[in-house]
């Protein structure tokens, strides 16, 4: 493209600093990490890793947990997001603010919120003790982690759903309704398909975050069997750098694969929301 006002040397000069930072502090270290993880015999090392049932169970649990979190988040956030984006009521802005302010919470704080709700001195436990006669404590387990990732993801996906819903063409729904479609059918056949690219993109990001998340699990309990915790344990307790490197690369490839798949499904750039 010939562009008089933007010669090539300026282009290179403007992109160079960012690219240099990226190459020096991410791409080069990543290449070194891959090399380290091979431990001299790439195939043998990775075969040992991928046939280790403990690591694979951990990976499977991480994938299942992330998938469950993604589906639940999408269902809840779509319901809330549509309400907030399409109805006008007193206090709407306050409700939006309440539902989106946890955006700034890091995973560790989210973990603490789960402890507040479902920990040993948690609200749910206290309520259950009073009404059911039994203290429910589920914060320090997979269920607690599930609640934590929900807490983390819901505000993010609500923001996306609201942004997508505000761009919907209202005349399509009107047409469907005037042709006699029930509200449920309008939602299923008109609204949801229109939201789908945004939902797939948001879901992919939600999945990727849950896969690599570490802070929430770390706060709740160090023995929850998800892959980031396994990597951390290998690295610190066992000082097994090769396995930690290999597992984090496997985790990275699985995550990246899901993002790529989602992008080809939604047709738009998922990375745009990442």
């Amino acid at each position: 493209m010939h562009d008089l006002t933007f010669p090539l040397r300026w282009r290179v000069a403007l992109v160079a600093p960012a690219l240099a930072v990226f190459l020096a502090f991410w791409l080069l270290p990543m290449a070194a990490l891959v090399q380290l993880s091979a431990d001299g015999h790439f195939l043998a090392t990775y075969r040992a890793l991928l046939t280790n049932s403990r690591y694979m169970t951990s990976l499977l649990q991480t994938v299942l947990l992330s998938a469950a979190v993604t589906l639940a988040t999408l269902a809840i956030s779509t319901t809330c997001g549509l309400l907030l984006a399409r109805r006008d009521f007193a206090g709407r802005r306050a409700l939006v603010a309440l539902l989106t302010f946890p955006l700034a919470f890091p995973g560790v704080v989210v973990g603490f919120m789960v402890i507040m709700l479902a920990g040993r001195q948690g609200l749910i436990g206290a309520l259950a003790l009073r009404f059911v006669g039994e203290r429910w404590v589920f914060a320090y387990s997979m269920t607690g982690l599930f609640a934590g990732y929900l807490y983390f993801s819901i505000p993010r996906v609500i923001v996306t759903v609201m942004a997508c819903a505000s761009k919907l063409d209202a005349s399509l729904e009107e047409a469907a309704r005037s042709l006699g479609a029930s509200p449920w059918r309008v939602t299923r056949d008109v609204v949801l398909p229109a939201l789908m690219p945004g939902l797939i993109a948001a879901g992919a990001v939600c999945f990727a975050t849950a896969m690599g998340a570490f802070g929430t699990a770390f706060t709740l309990a160090t023995d929850i069997d998800v892959l980031p915790m396994t990597i951390y344990t290998e690295f610190t307790l066992n000082a097994n750098m090769v396995t930690a490197a290999g597992l984090s690369i496997v985790l990275g490839i699985v995550t990246w694969g899901v993002l790529t798949l989602a992008r080809s499904l939604s047709g738009t750039s998922v990375a745009a929301t990442a």
Partner: protein, 308 residues
Amino acid sequence: MSALPSRGRDEDRLSTRVEPRAPHRRSALPSARTWIAVAQWLVTLATCAFLVVPVVMSIVAGLTVNYFRGVASGLTLRWLEEVWTQYHASVFLSLEVAAATLAVTLATGVPAGYALARSRTRVSRMIEELLVMPVALPGLASALALLVVYGGYSAFRMSAAFIVVGHVVFTLPFMVRPVAAVCASSDLRTLEEGAASLGASFMQRFFTIVLPNARPGIVAGALAVLTLSIGEFNLTWMLHTPDTKTLPVGLADTYASLRIEVGSAYTILFFIMTMPLLVAMQWFGVATPDVATRRERNAGISHHQDSQ
């Protein structure tokens, strides 16, 4: 609800439109619509409670003398004082790291975002993809990779710069993308050609045309970078040393080892610190699409992701 005439509910749903519909259907439709609306409200309010109740609880817990006995044991600022004397260094370190990260991402990310938006070639598309990789892949992997290569340089390893480097790589796309999106949506090329034909040099154009036009993107990017850097844990936990404990690292320590009142008081400190950022986000419409300008919304600025 069911006693309302159906017109009222229509207005509730589509505030300005009056829709033509055969009268005989009116009796059948409202109940389904009412049920959907009620269910929607229940889910929304339950979600709101799920998000807000623990925050309120932790604020109360941080101000209570003995949380196990409840608020009846009295309110106190003792825990906040204790946390402040013990951990104020982590607050300042986090602010310093966030400021340094912001400075580097502004200096490198803004020019890059502009240049990538102006040159829509395959190479620039590829560079954009590459820059997002550290966000798409688990932070743990990036942190391990940094340790493998730079862990041996102990002066660098022991300094806060090591954490800043990790944060910069992770937050850079959050600066580049909004800037690129805003630059792509405003017709900079025409504006710049006009200025160039009047004799403005490249630097003059960059500072008088490009930067003012990219401002919404820069503001959104800066807020995202600050928020992410202050809350970053995945990388920071692996990169920190006993002398470079940031706020989230200190939080994780407290949660793991100290009583719930202290953890809560520390969390209050975190809330106080991030509050200005949240207000700024609401103010500039970064988090809430309804107040965002159309341009920002199309640019996808409101999309947000960070690592736990």
